[in-house]
Symmetry: C4
Subunit: 193 residues, 4 copies
């Protein structure tokens, strides 16, 4: 399997999933007199759109960064990548729920589980690569893997906390998702060369 | 016709078809109190999403693997490829039916016919290539074709059985689709280099 | 403007427009007992899906074939190409109407006008290229343009006839669209190398 | 971050956003007898489709033109680009509102704000590049930046005027959007080489 076709296909899925998010920002059927009111009611949908756009964008950047250390792929990596895309493509669904029930705990829990599942697959991919240096490119170093692990731990621990807190305080849960998102963007901004 | 533009266009259609599947995982309009109940009701949609995601992913991998033996394309191969994409793009429709009527036989039959039609076009493409070695790349060997045929026979025979069993036992039919899917993934994981 | 990015963007729009067609093949909300009946009612939608899939596929093939004679693009060609994509992206709309009102004349007329508009833009692109040989590649020959014109005349004349006949006999109109589609596919199959 | 993967991903998002616009050109459920009437009622949707198609097409052309001066990207440019795509992907939403409430001021205001936000991000990208000549390609000249600024000023000043006028005369507001669009297309047609 050619690495560049794998990247092109993945880019396609990322690009489509990120663009489909806007389909859930829809006005209900109202007369013009109630348009401001209707707009106010879909503010959660717009915020969910922005959050998930940045989340998927972040995964896309992470995908790129990770594939810099890959020189060629094999069947296992290929299918792990398909599972990763399955999780990414699923994000519009909990996003849509967040927009509809912004104050409920269920969408926050499902959103978090979706991110945890995505990260778990990403973790498997990175572990697999770590044990198959023959697939690695010249950017492949043990340092890469050692750098990832504390970030992985922090991010997923925080998501677990956000899921747990969703029941007691949805606001705290949102804050965690937001802070982690900003943190990851900052890390990626610094790392990307 | 340039082979790489054909691959890029096909990748685009595969990526879009696979990502559109999530549009059929939608909650009905319910109040928050009935959200768990509504989620339970769309579990078949989620399972259908996962199955079809893996099925389309598998066809994408198969498409890649097959095009390794192609060096250039002609008009016939190009149009067979368009017919193949027509079948792939159709998959979201029976998937949506499976999600809505998970216990009925009709969606299982239509799903199976969709897969059989896709495989039939793929078979025609491979047969055509076999008779036109001038289109082949350096990976083109008779062995490739001989390896494919028993898999083709087993897979399509099983799909026919699944279609036939749908009336008597939808569960058996699902099992066949699932087992074949896992079997094909295992085969591809081993073959992909 | 780089020719390959123009082609990649165009391929993207073609791939998305062709795959979005399936979104109009949807079952109404019926109980399982009425599923066969509901399926029968959406047969026109399925046929419209197949027809438009092949039509857009044909324009994609034509786009490729035409761009073989182009070496570089300028602003005019770029914007004509965007107008062409505007027409292509519009095709799902009359397709959806054909599926809903298969026996009415209006969808047939709008479908035909959409195709005529697409061909008109394609004609402008080819005329522009003809007068700017400095944009042409090594495949650029007067013969190319002379070969196109009789096909253009026949196809668009037939579409005009189909639009005119829609009022008197929708069936005759469908037949013309179908025959022209098959004719064009046969021509492209022979020409593509 | 590889420049060509950034372009490929951006092209994907542009291509999808531009093609999704057609999903908002939909007929209400009417009997065939009321089809002409229904078509008349969705003329604003069709016009909004055409306008936004050209607007997104224009941003795509602008994106290309701008990236000619870029040789490599860094984390800041990458994330500014993601924010730019976030704004582009949002365009289908105010477009849908324009189609539904063509004579109201609110959609015109939101449409204008969307374009202003997009231009603001584009401005930040260009400013950032200006201060980081090490990212520039051989097309990177101060002249490029000096040429952009008067266009930027005129366009955004006009959008502000259109937003302000929306309350008093929606027609004047539409005229401004239309004239600016045509003006930008003319500028791009002349500049593109």
């Amino acid at each position: 399997m050619n690495k560049s076709r794998l990247e092109a296909f993945s880019d396609g899925v990322f690009a489509i999933a990120i663009t489909l998010l806007i389909l859930d920002v829809r006005l209900p059927e109202v007369s013009y007199d109630h348009l401001w009111q209707a707009l106010k009611e879909i503010i959660p949908n717009i915020l969910a759109y922005v959050m998930s756009f940045l989340v998927i964008g972040m995964y896309w950047v992470g995908h790129h960064t990770s594939f810099r250390i890959v020189a060629k792929t094999d069947g296992v990596l290929l299918w792990l990548n398909i599972l990763l895309l399955l999780c990414i493509s699923f994000i519009p669904f909990p996003t849509s729920m967040l927009g509809k029930y912004p104050q409920g705990e269920i969408p926050l829990i499902i959103y978090g589980c979706n991110l945890l599942a995505t990260n778990f697959i990403a973790f498997l991919m990175i572990k697999y690569l770590h044990h198959h240096p023959e697939l690695g490119s010249e950017h492949f170093h043990d340092k890469y893997f050692n750098d990832q692990m504390p970030v992985f731990g922090t991010v997923n621990g925080s998501y677990l906390l956000a899921i747990f807190l969703a029941h007691y305080s949805p606001l705290a849960s949102y804050l965690i998702y937001g802070v982690i998102l900003i943190l990851l963007i900052v890390i990626y901004v610094r790392r990307t060369r």
